[in-house]
């Protein structure tokens, strides 16, 4: 699904990632952990094609080098990134935005646009599944949403767009227990043998609901340790210093 080789990433003129390698196969869930400021979010931004990052090296997605593609081209190929702090956009109606995004992606794949009734049916089903208040449909995108609503809105967008590679940047931060369960339910609903995930998190609690196949620790601009789900538990118990020195 995704092969990263010798990746260097700069953000705001600062080299944040150097010579990073990562290989993710279809159906796998990878978790990236690390201290604040070690480049976890930058890595996801580089994969998603953010305008903020400057990259060198190789990122191959489904057999195609995607470094030359911009963010919307990567999104239409099935890469979805949920943001740590989703931006508020006053005046952009949430339903209009979701329908436009979905139909733009369908158009780029040569598919017919989804009709309004079909779209609304899908949207309402997914909102009910995630236990999202219907009132958010009338509001501008993320405007006045609580922290939990913003994260659920990201998961709703993800479910509507049905991506193949899902990048989740601290999707669990600021969530209460019920909201965390809803978000995890949404993630697991999209977990198929054809879908891969990269999750950035600081805590093990999301991983109790979304079981990872691999856990990586990012430090000093590259991945310094790899393991299975037990590595996240070990980190929570011992902290980075002990785990990295062992």
């Amino acid at each position: 699904m995704l092969t990263i080789k010798n990746l260097d990433v700069e953000i705001a003129g600062k080299e944040v990632i150097k010579d990073l390698d990562l290989d993710i196969k279809e159906g796998e869930v990878h978790v990236i952990m690390g201290l604040n400021g070690t480049g976890k979010s930058t890595l996801l931004k580089a994969i998603a094609g953010s305008y903020e990052t400057k990259t060198k090296g190789n990122i191959e997605y489904l057999g195609e080098d995607i470094l030359g593609l911009n963010a919307n081209e990567r999104a239409t190929k099935g890469i979805f990134m949920s943001f740590q702090n989703p931006i508020e956009i006053p005046g952009v109606n949430t339903v209009y935005f979701l329908r436009t995004a979905l139909n733009e992606q369908r158009k780029s794949r040569g598919e017919e646009p989804l009709s309004s009734p079909d779209f609304m049916k899908q949207l309402q089903e997914k909102m009910a599944f995630l236990e999202i208040d219907k009132n958010i449909l009338q509001r501008s995108l993320n405007v006045g949403f609580s922290g939990g609503e913003k994260k659920k809105s990201e998961i709703l967008q993800m479910m509507m767009l049905s991506p193949k590679l899902i990048l989740l940047d601290e999707i669990d931060s600021g969530l209460d227990i019920d909201a965390l369960k809803s978000v995890a339910k949404g993630i697991n609903a999209l977990r198929t043998p054809q879908t891969s995930l990269i999750i950035i998190t600081h805590y093990n609690r999301l991983l109790e609901y979304v079981k990872p196949d691999f856990v990586h620790i990012l430090d000093s601009q590259k991945i310094v340790k790899r393991g299975d789900a037990s590595l996240a538990k070990e980190l929570e118990e011992k902290g980075y210093e002990d785990v990295l020195s062992s």
């Binding site: 919307n72 005046g91 733009e104 767009l161």
Partner: protein
């Protein structure tokens, strides 16, 4: 045979202009009118109508170069008209469509008087077309008797080469209400001037949406005078400025001595889409009373790169993301428009940005 005259000569004899404007006057400070003085224009010949209309609305008036060419009005609207003047006196509630067509290269000096009788509610949609290489002076006098209501929507999307100076004087009587929404989208130079006098418990809501491009110059100038207590005014202008175009917001709200419980609000927000685009904003309050609530302010900015990036991360092209954000920016100018038909027409003109 059409006779051509220099604009400088035509302006000296125009009924809607008592002198040739110059940049030393505050009102004409940003006006490029001097550039047009040596251009020649024709006086209108009032020939047969160039365009016939089939309005959706039941009641309508069609004008060419300011002269009425056809109309369908109920008995409750009294009409007087001359060569380039029209007076409409409303004695009953009505939703009216006014179609203003201008012929090519003409100098038009037209006037429109509107009188809204006591307690009458009138809604008017003004559609302006034509005016290619023309120079149009249009003066409008509006008198609202007590409890009269006028809600106007003006689609000032003339030909790209048109010059249009529009002056509206409003006298809002006791407990009356005046609402005006104007959209400028085409035209080489457009100057929209409002003077509004507000009496006891009257209200004025004046909204201007300027969408300029190329080398267009759009000026929105609005004076409101609160002459009595409990009056309310709101001036809102939004400008989307592209290429080398220029937009000007010049507003002055005066709150007279001895008025009480006055509410006044002014705001101007501009979106600059190119480095060479310009905005000049001058929100101004002149206050002689101490029992009031008033605010004024302006913002000038560009499209939010983070918002563009967010929309693109969901698969929207850069162009589509920008269109959506521009639509979001202008969204609230349409919010207070109560007439759904007017709102839908404006949304159509905006190319479905505001779905």
């Amino acid at each position: 045979m059409k006779m051509s005259y220099l604009l400088s000569e035509l302006l000296l004899n125009a009924s809607n202009m008592d002198h040739i404007p110059n940049k030393k006057e505050e009102k004409w400070r940003f006006s490029p009118i001097k550039d047009y003085l040596e251009r020649s224009y024709n006086k209108p010949t009032f020939s047969s109508p160039e365009v016939s209309i089939t309005p959706e609305q039941e009641h309508w008036v069609s004008l060419q170069d300011g002269k009425v060419v056809d109309s369908y009005l109920p008995p409750g609207v009294h009409v007087k008209h001359g060569l380039s003047s029209l007076e409409l006196n409303f004695f009953e509630d009505i939703d009216l469509y006014l179609y203003h067509h201008y012929t090519q290269q003409s100098f038009v000096d037209s006037s429109l008087n509107i009188i809204i009788q006591e307690g009458v509610k009138v809604s008017i949609y003004h559609d302006y077309s034509g005016g290619k290489e023309g120079f149009i002076l249009h003066s409008s006098h509006i008198k609202l008797e007590p409890k009269g209501c006028l809600s106007q929507t003006q689609n000032q999307t003339l030909c790209a080469e048109a010059v249009f100076i529009f002056e509206t004087k409003v006298h809002a009587g006791k407990s009356s209400s005046f609402k005006n929404f104007s959209l400028h989208k085409e035209g080489e130079y457009l100057h929209n001037i409002f003077h509004t006098d507000l009496h006891y418990q009257s209200e004025a809501e004046i909204t201007s949406l300027l969408l300029s491009q190329n080398t267009q110059k759009y000026i929105f100038s609005c004076d409101v005078e609160h002459l009595a207590s409990r009056s309310k005014s709101q001036i809102l202008s939004k400008q989307v400025v592209r290429d080398k175009s220029v937009c000007v917001f010049d507003a002055n709200t005066k709150i007279s001595k001895d008025t009480k419980a006055t509410q006044a609000k002014q705001s101007s927000h501009a979106l600059l889409l190119d480095d060479s685009a310009q905005v000049h904003a001058k929100p101004h309050l002149e206050i002689y009373s101490d029992d009031l609530s008033a605010s004024h302010g302006c913002t000038v900015g560009e499209l939010d790169q983070e918002a563009i990036a967010y929309l693109r991360s969901r698969g929207l092209s850069e162009q589509k993301a920008k269109e959506i954000l521009i639509s979001a920016f202008i969204h609230d100018t349409l919010e207070s428009m109560e007439n759904i038909t007017h709102k839908e027409r404006v949304m159509d003109l905006l190319g479905g940005y505001d779905e």
